[in-house]
Amino acid sequence: MNWFSRVLPPKINKKVPEQEATESKRSVPEGLWSKCSTCQAVLYRSELEENQQVCPHCGHHHRLTARQRLHYFLDPEPRLEIGADLLPVDPLRFKDQKRYKERLQEAQQKSGEKDALVVMRGLLEGQPVVAAAFAFEFMGGSMGSVVGTRFVKAAESALVERCPLICFSASGGARMQEGLLSLLQMAKTAAVIERLGKARIPFISVLTDPTMGGVSASLATLGDILIAEPNALIGFAGPRVIEQTIREKLPEGFQRAEYLLEHGAIDQIVDRRQLRSSIARQIGILMQAEHSA
């Protein structure tokens, strides 16, 4: 199967039923068993589930939906969603080949989310936290008014409860369909993070695959601690845009988490299965003064 699927041309390749069942390599595999998109190992779904969608053979981190992310990260109980009542509108009456309104409806049906950020209050190994996760499955996790406003709600909740904020980013950047309003969400989220810092509330930013553009150039890189998942693509400009601009091949591993670590852009790369314990430890230390006060 391994060599066979690789030598087939892409079109025929698509018709192989097992491949069909795993959908594209970008989404999390469904069905009873599936195949790792990186090492091609055949895995039971339950095995993947136990490993938080990390391939137990090669360590490839499959992308998660926002709810999967929060499900794996937070203690099972209690969980309270914040900002679910905020819904996207179409202030520009934006229309390309499709209307923004239609795109929103389609994204909502496909993903089951109302917009691209899900926020919950809960516990992490018993410590109260607010956790936010980008829904890449919703219009590429793009940041418009709702994402920005939900993020502010998350931060405000962390300020009021005096508990850490953790955000998992996965986004192509600002949402074009809301024009300048989307761009200004960058300033808005940055401003509320500045308040967290002044109030000595830790903000942990976890950069997951992919974190690009306006999200990378605002909230995602403003964490007190920056953690990336292995091999996550992280950057400002997309690799294709850079290639077209400079007309050169990009270096091996460019904009990957390991490359960023080497260039001093992030604090750590942490395996998804260790994220809970690692972040719990770090916020415990950062909140020490708060708790002994």
Partner: protein, 316 residues
């Protein structure tokens, strides 16, 4: 300097060309003809500019003869001192900044700078800053805060530079850091879009207490060409993208995102720079006076509220 015309301005180019020819002939009795033609040219200019499309506005905002940051700095300010470098890596010529006086008042100014000729364009990287440019801006803003100088920024960039080195040195973080620091910098900040407001690369010096735009400047989350190539898979649809993105000064003002649109002469700032300088000076003086009358705590809480109000959402 010979006036350059944009494609959509060709009817004016012809009329004004004829006027020039007649003037050179310098024959008696043609004064009437010249007047008539000049009138016709002015009417044509009025006609074109009264229904300027978003895409045509982009062309004007990118006009090669449009005044750039340093033109405004030298026209509006005295005692201009240029300050360089980020103290860590390099001096980025795509962002300029320094000290000056505006109507006697000590200020700090920052802006993106495009180049006029090929050599300068390359030196200034077409006004596309790298991280060291944003970090220079940040350093200057902190200097302004320390010495209580209001900050005036001039926005004119296609965007932050998409290059290997820029990414390696943390383009994202450099932009993000500026947004955070500007949101709470304890001096008044006024930003003026003078040409192209290109996405995050523009916003990185554009967070503050006032956002002003010149009449024919644009400000957008993505370039019309970039948007078209993503959503239409065809960069040639840039005109449609420009329209729907809502990037003109007037449109953004109607959305409540811009505090004031500063008038330009018909045909754009380059046709009468003196008039533009006067309009900008009047506007800056007014806003500066308003902001300097505010106590710092009030200034910052207003700025914060202003940032928090950005966005349009519905409720379940």
């Amino acid at each position: 300097m010979k006036l350059q015309y944009l494609d959509f301005e060709q009817p004016i180019a012809e009329l004004e060309g004829k006027v020039e020819e007649l003037k050179e002939l310098n024959q008696p009795g043609i004064q009437e003809d010249i007047k008539r033609l000049e009138n016709k040219a002015r009417k044509e200019l009025q006609r074109l500019y009264s229904k300027l499309t978003a895409w045509q506005t982009v062309q004007v905002a990118r006009h090669p003869q449009r005044p750039y940051t340093l033109d405004y700095v030298h026209a509006l300010f005295t005692d201009v001192e240029v300050l360089a470098g980020d103290r860590a890596y390099a001096d980025d010529a795509a962002i300029v900044g320094g000290l000056a006086r505006f109507q006697g008042q000590a200020i700090l100014w920052i802006g993106q700078q495009k180049g006029r000729d090929t050599k300068e364009k390359i030196q200034r990287n077409f006004g596309m800053p790298r991280p060291e440019g944003y970090r220079k801006a940040l350093r200057l803003m902190r200097l302004a805060e320390r010495f209580r100088l209001p900050v005036l920024t001039f926005i004119d960039t296609p965007g932050a530079y998409p290059g290997i080195g820029a990414e390696e040195r943390g383009q994202s973080e450099a932009i993000a850091r500026n947004l955070a620091v500007m949101s709470d910098l304890a001096v008044p900040i006024i930003s003026l879009v003078i040409g192209e407001g290109g996405s995050g690369g523009a916003l990185a010096i554009g967070v503050g207490d006032r956002l002003l735009m010149l009449e024919y400047s644009v400000y957008s989350v993505i370039s019309p060409e970039g948007c078209a190539s993503i959503l239409w898979k065809d960069a040639a649809k840039a005109a449609e993208a420009a329209e729907t993105l809502g990037i003109t000064a007037r449109r953004l003002q109607s959305l409540g995102l811009v505090d004031e649109v500063i008038d330009e002469p018909l045909g754009g700032a380059h046709r009468n720079v003196q008039l533009v300088y006067e309009n900008i000076a009047a506007s800056l003086a007014r806003h500066l006076q308003e902001l300097q009358g505010m106590e710092t705590a009030r200034l910052l809480s207003h700025r914060y509220e202003r940032l928090m109000h950005y966005g349009v959402v519905g409720a379940a």
